[in-house]
Amino acid sequence: MAIIADLLVQGGQMLLVLLLAPLLTGYLRKVRARLLRRRGPPLFQPYRDLLRLIRKEVVVADGASWLFRAAPYLIFAAIWVAASLVPTFAIDLIFSWSADLIAIVALLGSARFFLALAGLDVGTSFGGIGASREMMIAPLAEPAMIMIVFTLSLLARSTQLSFVVAFMSGPDVGLRISVALSLVALIMVALAENARMPVDNPATHLELTMVHEAMVLEYSGRHLAMIEFAASLKLLLYVSLISAIFLPWGMAVAGQGIEAYVIGLAVYLAKLVLAGFMLAVFETSIAKMRVFRVSEFLGTALMLGLLGTLLLFVSRNL
């Protein structure tokens, strides 16, 4: 019985991230619009967009190969798996040990790999520019992320997210420079990875500065729906990750019973509301930077992460 309950909770988390991801995107757009004194689209608009897209026919470019048509599903699957391994409302879920934080970062890397290939597949210059720039951002964002993972796992003596979260909510964490450094670095990486301001503008189309949109320019219909869905899942993943690590309170531990799960879920939703609001405020208060300034931005994140790791190599108390 216990294993069935565990599987149900794990399955519930997989469905939860699917359900919440478009909502988070819609909420962000709404808050951003309000901050700009616009009314903004309705909260549930992303769901309608997705539904509309999957009902439409797909227009595939003449030169597209099977990879172009398979990539949306592969990207979606990799990000979905990664997102359902990040603790949301509970830790120690039954499959949480099957991939640690390094593997989650690498899964996102797999998704990016196929997205960039899909950008190159049709052989248009816009797809190429997007893929090339995505692969310029990744070699800085990924090591920065690995360094953040190192900082956190040196502290918690584990790369397993459940143990990291348990450590961060425990009494030993205290005020540490390394944690502060990794928080700043993680936020910077999250902004870059999700193509948010100031790295990329999620609201633009057809502008030479764009990265993510240029890669998916040739996609339409259900393929585009999968890619948009994957993008909002990735945003949810990073928001969940930051709130699970740095706001670790109120999470249920697997097997505690229904009440704990309900409380965990409510706290999780509250965290998403708070984090989404802060992200929207940040995005509206900053201008987008030139594409070649991104390397300085991410280089800073990498250095912060490295500094955090170095401090912990010197002493675990820093």
Binding site: Y73, F76, A77, S98, L117, S125, E218, F313
Partner: protein, 670 residues
Amino acid sequence: MDLIAILALAAALLALGVLAILLTRLRVATPIVYGGSLVLTALALPLAIHHLLFAAGADEQVWLPLGLPWLGSHFHLDSLAAFFLIVVNLGAVAASLYALGYGRHEPAPGRVLPFYPAFLAGMNLVVVADDAFTFLLAWEFMSLSSWALVMARHREEGNARAGFVYLAMASFGTLALLLAFGLLAGSTGAYAFDQIRTSKHEALLASLAFALVILGAGSKAGLVPLHAWLPLAHPAAPSHVSALMSGVMTKVAVYGFVRIVLDLLGEPLWWWGMVVLALGGISSALGVLYALMEHDLKRLLAYHTVENIGIIFIGLGLALAFRSNALDLAAALALTAALFHVLNHSLFKSLLFFGSGAVLVATGQRDMERLGGLIHRMPYTAFAFLVGSTAISALPPLNGFVSEWLTFQSILVSPQLSQWALKFFVPAMAALLALAAALAAACFVKAFGVTFLGRPRTAEAAAAQEVDRFALGAMFGLSALCLLAGIFPGVVIDAISLVTQRLVGAQMPAQLGNAWLSIIPIAASRSSYNGLIVFAFIGLAVFASTYAIHRWASRAVRRSAAWDCGFPDPSPRTQYTAGSFAQPIRKEFGTLVFLARERVTMPLPGDSSPARLEVRMRDLIWEVFYEPIWGVVGFLADQLNKLQLLSIRKYLSLVFGVLVLILLVLALWQ
């Protein structure tokens, strides 16, 4: 028994080489030589596997009355040798199978066939050699036969230079190893490995030998800055030999390093680990940057070998550092990571070279700027190359990720090291490793994307044909192994544990008993990874999403011209090229590493001449390390050349003078 059988197979390979000389004019020579190599190495493979898994404790030794009369030839087979025999023969089986089809396209088979089995025999013999003389003989045999293979197409532009640089570097490496063995054998001339192992080495002497081994084995493996020959020589050989040189011969060099430093030298000093770590970190980052700047598919792959060798040496450096601190479990973890990467790299690098060979046969092109769109014409090759690219970019659930993950895990236990220098150094190397891993993904998006995706850039690329079944069989076999090693890593780790037990006296916890076949390097509370579950989850998610979409969504598909923002350009030349793809990375890293400079010349308004973009990059390692040596050697050769044109009187007086000098030295010596 295993050892004698392997020696017999090596002898049979040599005989096959001799037979190839006799048959060289016949058309049946190609299938006979490659088929024979395939059978012989396929026989050696189960012997090595059997010895590693079922007879790990029972070392075998054989003495044969060959070679130097007072020394003979010692051979042995222990778990380390067995592991590397598996790597060598697995690569050899795949390459021979591939060559059954690929070898038919060889313009001058007589220049390849005799050396190919000899090369395989040489690599097998290096691994089983048990004294310095046999080791060096086999090593040199391996070098020279591969040199002959590099020179197989010596009339092609650049190949003669590649062969010359390779020969110079190989001789230099062998010289360094010769001196290292000389130091270790001491004045008594104890050249057998058993004697070297048991004798006590002074710290200074051992350090000197260590430095020489770094030079000798490092130059063969391709550590920066000793890598210069590698991107020249590996691509010059026929593709199945390139695969062997890059995927397997560099691993034999790693074997030489591990055998001497971790086995023969005794207890390591702590700074050895630091030197190896530094070389590994620099090689991994520089190797991938060089690869990113490269447009030639085979040279890109060769430079990428430098990166992977760097990753292996990071693991080895960590193992040395842990061992000098008596942290045996951590040393076992780091060594397992390194050896796992040895196996992985031999699999996917061979696979990728096979793919590049297939592209070369189909189009006659190695330059990526003249390829493109091959996924339509060569779907199977494209799929196999994609699997190899994913594996080498360390993406889960394939095998490359597992060994990098293990390396990261061993870095995470390194705060236990007691030396401050190492404590500061290891995180920096970790950052370089993470950088290299991410750049590798960019590099293979470029390699696969520009070669196989997009639209064909030349008529040759548009008319490509899929390659033969043998080549496809070899590629798909290796792809399957990449996936299997990625989702069942516990099997490989448990096999490597038998090696680490011998070398560092510890092993990782047994993995095959873990629930759900996950791997747990230290303890479940520290880290765990399950390739099988990740693979199953991804498969399920793909299946579920595809099913749901096709069940409830529109299934209509319409083909039309590419949209491209409403301004599609019919010419394939407007596509992103390899150069333009790598331009942002060149701007970020290249200005520092290659002193890359771009100059744009725009015509004046009204002038209809084309604008020009010039890029200048400098290979600083070649300029700093090699050109001065090149210059000095050239100068000395010119000076000595004058001695050849003297009159007989001058020669006689020269001989007289030298004789007097030698006698004088002897007299003073006494």
